[in-house]
Amino acid sequence: MRVGVFICHCGNNIAGTVEVAKVAEEARKMPGVAFATTYMYTCSEPGQEEIKAAIAREKLDRVVVAACSPRMHELTFRRTVEKAGLNRYFFEMANIREHCSWIGEDKELNTNKAIEAVKIAVEKVKQNKPLFPSRFKINKRVLVIGGGVAGMQAALDCADGGLEVVLVEKSPSLGGMMARLDKTFPTVDCSICILGPKMVDVSQHEKITLYAYSEIEEIKGYVGNYQIKIRKKATYVDWSKCTGCGACVEKCPSRNAYDYFNFGVAPCRAINIPFPQAIPKKAKIDPKFCRQFTKGKCGVCAKICPVGAINYEMQDEIVSEEVGAIIVASGYGLIDLDKLPEYGGGRYPDVISGIQYERILNASGPTAGHIVRPSDHTEPKTIVFVSCAGSRDKSIGIPYCSNFCCMYIAKQAILTKDHIPDSQCYVFYMDIRSPGKGYDEFTRRAQEEYGVKYIRGRVSRIYPKGKKLVVKGADTLLGTQVEVEADLVVLATAVIAAPDARILAEKLHISYDPYGFYVESHPKLRPVETNTSGVFLAGACQGPKDIPASVGQGSAAAAKVLSMFSKDTLESDPQIARVNQNICVGCRKCIRTCPFGAIEEQELRDGRIVAKVIETVCAGCGICNSTCPCGAIQLQHFTDNQLLAEVNALCLT
């Protein structure tokens, strides 16, 4: 066996704290190593050529590259050795950068650790067997979770690319947060005017199946072949009949239902259609408030409905869909005012959140676009905006910036001035974050043209005084306390993960950060991929994001799916479990433990019952391997022998 070892300087990243020459020298002494050298940038093209050349020149049959993390370049180098005629699994990587040169300054210790990392890799690679991927057919349908702007963009791009799309939206209408906005920054064009057409396109696209007011119940399968169960929640209105005429809403006697679409700015009817441009434009009953459900008597809507669509007996329905890829665009949430007791914690009706103010500004909102105070419906003259209401606040566990508040506050202040020319807006801020194209100009305009007063400091407290609200803050630039007697206070409440983000992540087997936002595969180079192949991310479910960024990600995710589906088959990862049927005693332990049901019984000619792995289903976790009492089932590329070889490399010396 002739192993070749290539140690990377990675410029100074490795060579700075590791004596690469010494590592190479020690490597040469290792049994089985025929050749060892160092190179400035092994991943560069000449670097890879160097490896190919060496393989030919030195007749190498195994290759170890000691460089960065395999999570970074394992695939790169596997391709390299393959091009040189070796099986791509005759290759191992030793991580001497992230796990070594970057964790300390002590050259002696680092060098020694690097040498041992190489040693582990050498012992492993000597145990490696050639593996050959098989190919499997893929189902070229895609599931998009979330009908906000990111999800709709992804759905449309996929559909226009010829894919069948299943779009699942948990609320009764498409549109998400963007549908609630009045105008959008920095252009101040009407939000629903640019979103509405997209919503229509989605609903009319022959390749898109829309499940509104539905949620993901269960996800089974693997990249290329997922089985999805979708829960269609009971609306108590037969949508196949409902024409959205709104007669029922008119007549509904229960007027105090919570209006989810308007974030409770004003109450709505127990049976309602969220907003005029809603798609689908269908009515839905909220049983928490409907008197037919609470009191057991009413039935007004059933009487009034011209098409007899009302059905109080309706139950949730589970439908199944099969897809090959999933795009997650489940959006974000906002903290409740009760997290901010010093700002009244929701006890003062005229202290509202930014999204509530959007609804008040919005022509199709509960106040028909007239800016009035929730408390007494009078027109406010002094409006105070408080940025970072909960954001960048460790004391409530939200240390991060919510990304778009600075911008929408500027927008809302400008709109306020447009609506009420004799009004005065104040904005309390810590930093103005406006890095986007045309963004900073926009916040400047708010101050220069619209005379919005920006005050650099946090607000400590808000309390009522007569009809006014006293906003007690600081102007750190003046080094004084400031007070504003406001008619209305708008809090830019912090962006948080969507309420059920974690539950969905667990169904998808994707990971989330400590705040519940989904984790991308690589922060820079794989921003819309996840570590679960076949599952992609778009929009604010991955972190606070504004509209352009969300749309961009929607398209990016769609592109990823389209390129994946450009082939008819996918290469299956050969790193899966394999049964040695001569040793298998048919105890069925593996069958019971496999989380994917990838192992089944097989009866041999001699009547023996043994385990058999369904190649396309096995995900390669290796649980069966460590469960098997006789080592009959082995996870390829991570067999007992291979792992023990690594252990022994460290111990028996």
């Binding site: 960048r392 460790k394 650099r456 600081a474 080094g479 004084t480 306390q481």
Partner: protein, 188 residues
Amino acid sequence: MEPINLTQNTDWEFIEQVKKESGENPSLCYQCGNCTAGCPYTKYFDFPVNQIMRLLQTGQKETILRSRSIWLCATCETCTTRCPCQIDIAHIMDVLRIIARRENYVAEKEVKIFYDAFLSSLKHHGRIFEVGILMGYNFRSGHLFTDADLGPKILGKGKIHFLPPRIQGRDKVAEIFRKFEEKRKSRG
């Protein structure tokens, strides 16, 4: 205000000293101003709280220890309660006050005199003898008639004892003072 030469006039030891004595890390402060905004005493401070924190971050020992702010802080805990960076600001103010006293910077004579009067009452009687303190304070501060107007109000209501309280344990309390002074000296 004089320009500050950060190269020459940053007192790094002072920053470390305050870190050590308070167990708080001034670098956590991002100057949002919430402390100043909520502080009932900002109006009376020569440096608002957030500037004290800033001066601390930049190691301006002299300015801080000479400031009146640290003596006018009543430890009402508003800043600590609302700090988004979870810094115990009131505790830092406390530590600054202690250092100022130790190194004889006292920008607010009256306050210190009152505290001393309080402490000597504590030392001698084990409990606080309000009239004693007031008289002691008025005498030392030279403001002979401070709150004299209040005298009659409480007098009439039998709220004042003209003799200090006496507890057996008062020598024990005095003992605490003695041991502390000794320690202080031995520490130098």
